[in-house]
Homo-oligomer: 345 residues x 4
């Protein structure tokens, strides 16, 4: 039984962690923290959890966390994570950090898109927590930078093609669409029901901070520096991300080679499901689950391949993937606690 805690548990990713951990057969959630809600019972704050979790929010004291847990999920805003994570590592805790603070190999890249990094010395030891790419490294990691939601959906859609060099890396365009929960639980006009409902829009076109994270991983896969065009959009629904990824095939690449690349790359990936060529997934079919479902089509007229990936942004795009990383870091089966069926309808 792994003893775990969540620092910053009052937001949506914190809640999703609690939901998953409350049904995990080999993890024991012992402590949840929130500066704003300290002293408040979770099930008063969030009545859905009555009967599932009787914890009370506490102040994020590192010593208390170290006494209660072997592994801590830090579900804090960017920058706040950098303050707590080093304290946890010092106390010999394992950490899965859901912020962007430990996702980058190069502190300079982080700093040009976010802010000054306080602990750049920790970056070389931090593993990017995408199991399909770094499963073996994660197993021995003490600090995992849990991937962003958009990057998860885009990297999984692209990795097989890049790793087999089937596409021209300079032609990559990712058009992504996310449900509103990706914006977090904070109140603002931008998430007001009447401002979002029955509307669809693009946002942060050409300047979203997930761009360098996507480029870091795609460049690593391709063995060369890649610049991608990435456009996020907001969908009037609560959960789900769909990314449509476009690229041009290299000369001589056939549809069969594309099919084979996906099937071989994900041969042992329990959380990637392939719809296959010319069959495309709906975000509904992965809701509440850790799956990434993929479909693709080669368009011979334009010599492009279109890949569509879907994930649940709160599960695979954040908390489910974090639990998957916990499983790997703790010697548990990858799917432990994550094997319930998606929610539909």
């Amino acid at each position: 039984m792994v003893r775990v805690a969540i620092a910053g548990a009052s937001g949506y990713t914190g809640f999703e962690l609690i939901r998953i951990l409350s049904q995990h057969p080999q993890a024991e959630l012992n402590m949840i923290t929130s500066r704003g809600q300290a002293g408040q019972r979770l099930d008063a704050f969030y009545p859905a959890f009555r009967g599932h979790c009787s914890l009370t929010f506490e102040y994020p004291d590192p010593d208390k966390l170290a006494s209660e847990a072997d592994l801590v999920f830090t579900a804090l805003p960017h920058q706040a994570a950098m303050d707590l994570v080093p304290e946890l590592l010092k106390r010999n805790l394992k950490v899965v950090d859901l912020s962007a603070d430990y996702r980058f190999r190069d502190a300079g890249v982080y700093e040009s898109w976010y802010q000054k990094h306080k602990t750049p010395e920790l970056l070389p030891g931090a593993i990017y927590g995408l199991p399909e790419l770094y499963r073996e490294h994660i197993k021995t990691a003490r600090l995992v930078g849990n991937p962003g939601c958009y990057p998860t959906s885009i990297i999984l859609a692209t990795a097989p093609l890049l790793s087999k060099a089937l596409i021209d890396p300079g032609t990559l365009i990712a058009d992504s669409k996310s449900g509103v929960s990706g914006a977090g639980r904070g109140a603002s006009l931008g998430v007001h029901f009447c401002e979002v409902n029955e509307g669809f829009k693009a946002y942060k076109v050409g300047e979203h901070r997930h761009t360098p994270e996507i480029e870091q991983e795609l460049s690593f896969l391709a063995g060369q520096k890649i610049n991608i065009t990435f456009t996020p959009h907001l969908v009037p629904m609560t959960r789900g991300i769909l990314s449509t990824v476009y690229s041009s095939l290299q000369d001589g690449v056939t549809p069969a080679m594309v099919d084979e690349a996906f099937h071989s790359f994900y041969a042992n990936a329990p959380f990637v499901r392939l719809c296959g060529s010319k069959a495309f997934p709906d975000t509904l079919q992965v809701r509440g689950s850790n799956y990434c479902d993929l479909g693709w089509r080669v368009d011979e007229r334009t010599r492009r391949v279109v890949v569509v990936s879907v994930i649940d942004n709160l599960t695979r795009g954040a908390s489910g993937q974090a639990v998957c990383n916990m499983n790997l870091m703790s010697g548990l089966p990858e799917e432990s606690g994550l094997d319930t069926a998606p929610w539909q309808p």
Copy 2:
């Protein structure tokens, strides 16, 4: 391990049964039937289930069902259930029937709201599957008539008040609101996205067929014939029912007596959660779960009590309750397979 089958598995309640049973630790789903989909793999028909259920829809042959299962869920339309259920009982199978065909004590009532009953002789032995009212009877039943979604929400909101005779039974009014999945999976203009979205309406005002079912149970609880005014409405959301139930207090009844009635009636009900007086539930907090959450308020100005109940219409209002009944009929813990947290957000 209970061996089970589902007859009529291609609709929403069938799907919800598969979802729950796929994660049930003590049940084994061995067969699913559908006349329309026979021969089709479930996970081709419904990609969400890839990796969770590898069954193929079969033709509903009673002998085959008897060889594969100890208990059958019949998730068929009214009238179709009456054809299959007797065949299953003859073969010594236990049955949880999700249609209205075995919910009525009096065939005459059924016939005046539905159609001619083909097997009225089975009605005396059929138990109305609301565990909070009939737990002990269900444990030994061979045929359970699983309650309707609206009746579940309304009876649970009213039972404590009637059983303690705190209200005037002649004043009961139930104003209910349901998500669209209650209408089933069949295509029709009435469930077209653009006809439902961004609109709200009442329907079948004063003539919904759940009325006699509600009245049967409330009359039984009150020990007298009750007529209720029941108005269903359609909410532009997928899952959930909220019922607001109004009645006049008997003379001398105090708010504390109302509180006490709820707390004592549900003292041992694992799936009823009490928000308490002046705190009211949201359907979101029970989504995907078997809970019924209840809140109430005594209005001293009008001497009425207002009770608000919420359920997930597909889970507590149909398939979750059916699994709960299976648990009781099979000597399993009431909560087995139903103990995951609600889905939120």
Copy 3:
């Protein structure tokens, strides 16, 4: 051409006023104010209005308002209206106030549900702006208290029955359901898309501040003091209110008498449409319009009548009705500027 201004134009009712006035053939919108947005162009703040209104938000200076307008719509929060309205009246302006500050005949009632009234001396001269009840008084009024959204829907559903004494006034129950725009444009967790979407809840049960407003008007119609049970609910949609109103018929009242009461009461009401007995409206069929559509059914079993009313909460429940009042106060046809068809789908 009536010259008008809007004080407090940056919220949803302000926007709705601008939308309607921008297409009104006999009104000229000359000034819009907002303390928070003063100096900002409307069409920068709200791009939908590009090409329809080139005004800039100004500070709410009474002298400036008096120089630009003959009539002012005050779309301010409760209490803020009381500061500005007297200044406008002093300057000989007509006022339609959309807050609750001038809806009550009795300052004591206002004060027991809201706060201290600053100008109780204005209340006797203020007219409650429901044209179906007070058309002739509105025509000569200088100050109109524009009705609340819930009261509009409930009073119109009930007035014919009370005015003909067909029902027992002590049995009235109004179960109302509103879209989210009724909560206004301010950001809060309660209107966060993910907290509202796919959920349904009751709120302020037995304590909503529209209760005394409803009771004032129904009591006046009935000629006796009425207490009503009123329960508001939140629907996951942007616009629309549906109220389901229950009451017990007096002895001897027939369905035909009920029908006749509705038809005669609304014989000359251009904005009330009768669906008739046993036909019920959907909020979609009045969206974006000033209509109130009504359906009803007498339930002989329980001797109750159920009335269903639908309005658009922003149009008929606020800004459309305000423009209708402006029309009447200005000698214009009641329907001027309000005769576009509802928005569907």
Copy 4:
């Protein structure tokens, strides 16, 4: 006053035509037809229209149409239009056809994506009804092929760039997202509320029939054959299309040149509104209107330009544009009857 009729008025584009025409100051809607609803009053079929249109659906008799109207909107399915349109032209009627039957210059292209064309001889005289491209031709046309919804959004986003040769036409990718009303009013599982709500998906990837229509017009603008990659997606909302169009800039093209291209191309287009560079529109801001709002951004890192366009698929993408074409064909001002503000929120 132009006398008009609608053939095939029972679907969503028919309804939207009726809505717009009911408030058009210079058009008189004299006849609506529907084979399925002939004999039924419009306002019984569609209660929203009570008080706005008292017509009854009639059988589509060409002689009757010719006696009632000067111009007919044919809002029929593909193929059905080909049967009626020639009959109308023979009787000297002007026609705006909302199907795909008269959008193609080359019958062969039509036939390879749709079916055999019955009247290819009419194609040379048919004008593609996009006013920003063909305003002068439309003014004298007798038959206008009203553009498809996706093509309208994509062509308007791309025309300025192609007409000034600022982009490489071989790099065009259009990623489009549509509300559900684009699928029409017919009942099917694909538009069932519970199948669409809370989900997002791509469909007909690489094979949507609007592809050749887009390519016809873009090729014409570019003066060379263009193949485009076009991916439509379904958004869980009723109205609206957003297209995100990607292309690579030609060498030497600067952001200022891109800005200038948009501003000059649309200098005299009353229904195109430019958000400008780095400002992007939301579908909400054009709902219910004939506007196309455009935003764009040059990404210097990748030398691509991203253009985002939004329209209301039923108004600008179908019926509003059809009325605009009627205006031009009838010598009326382009904006007549189309100058109401968008619907928000």
